[in-house]
Subunit: 219 residues, 2 copies
């Protein structure tokens, strides 16, 4: 365990919650930051708060005006935008989140951010890849003279790998019962949106029932 503090970017979903528990194992002190940017599935924020309370992690929720950053190819196709980019991708939204989180880290003297990005099943989000995270670290280094490390423990894992990884992290499995993945923000999860299906596939391949589904059956 490192005798340092880490700041985890926590959405309240499966991946970032797994990262939080990884950080609790790896770092002496952990804090979390969540962005309220008008996401459709705003119950994520409730999940993030609940999970932080469970592990007594200090938690900042940052409100971001919906107009601050936006625009997708769904709104208007743009010439020159990469052909492999998902139509729902918002240009530089991850950069915005990382910039604000890095500001907090620098102000507090925290040297490590943790983010749950994953590029294994590349689905058209260029800012979920190692090359972007490395370039972001460089930008902070030159722009703030600050050696910030951005940890991304899930970057190369499949959804199955992430489930098995969570199984090995003390307390994480129980916390997954309170995460929110469903695009519709429903509990019990709708089971039909793309996010629900990808999550279900990961648990099925890993051979374990999803604690979230188990909880919804028992309540």
């Amino acid at each position: 365990m490192k005798d340092e503090k880490a700041l985890v970017i926590l959405s309240g979903g499966q991946d970032s919650t797994t990262c939080l528990y990884w950080a609790l194992k790896e770092y002496k002190e952990v804090e979390a930051i969540t962005f309220d940017y008008g996401q459709m599935h705003r119950n994520e924020i409730v999940s993030a708060s609940k999970i932080c309370s469970m592990v007594k992690v200090p938690h900042e929720i940052v409100f971001i005006e919906g107009t601050l950053i936006g625009g997708t190819l769904l709104d208007k196709p743009v010439e020159g935008r990469g052909e492999n980019i998902a139509p729902s991708w918002v240009p530089l939204r991850n950069a915005l989140f990382l910039t604000i989180a890095s500001n907090r880290a620098i102000v507090k003297g925290v040297k490590t951010l943790v983010i749950g990005v994953n590029s294994r099943d590349y689905s058209g989000y260029p800012d979920c890849r190692i090359s972007f995270i490395s370039a972001f670290e460089d930008m902070v280094f030159y722009g703030a003279e600050y050696p910030l490390l951005i940890e991304k423990p899930l970057i190369n894992m499949t959804k199955k790998d992430i489930v098995l990884f969570a199984k090995g992290l003390l307390g994480c499995w129980e916390a997954l019962a309170y995460t929110l993945t469903c695009y519709k923000g429903e509990y019990p999860p709708c089971g039909e949106c793309a996010a629900c299906k990808i999550r279900a596939k990961g648990f099925k391949e890993a051979g374990f029932p999803d604690p979230l589904i188990e909880r919804s059956k028992n309540e």
Copy 2:
């Protein structure tokens, strides 16, 4: 002149106004973006609007919640923060502005941003240097698969150079009469704050009276 559009980050001060007029000379189409982030000298924003009206440049003013990014060494010294950094510097504020401006550029298909940063008289702002701007361009390239160019025409100029440069740009001299530099946001400018003194020195060394001062004498 390039048959392209450029987006200018315009504060309403002398440097960014000079950049706006440079862009009007260099690019077929020009737009401007200004950030309202609770700056003390908020009259800057009025100056920016006035100048954009003078040249009929489309102008977006983006409101940024004051709590979104903050923290200076004046609030609390932090171990590990570069020793050459100015106490008043806000970590990654320029990165935040550039991220939002880059988002706008990508959404509109604009390939060039223009910013009035200047590192000649390095005064403890690491995010006013070429190394930062280059790292930021790389971050956008990897994070958005977008080849954004960030032009910084004043980067190596002295304040005297900037005055002489403005003198050669059609219409710029007249516009400088409406810029705001004074930290106190006063018109006529207080003449006593650090910003007023640096501005006055540049005009004095260039051998021309400041159009802003001339205007205030004549009104």
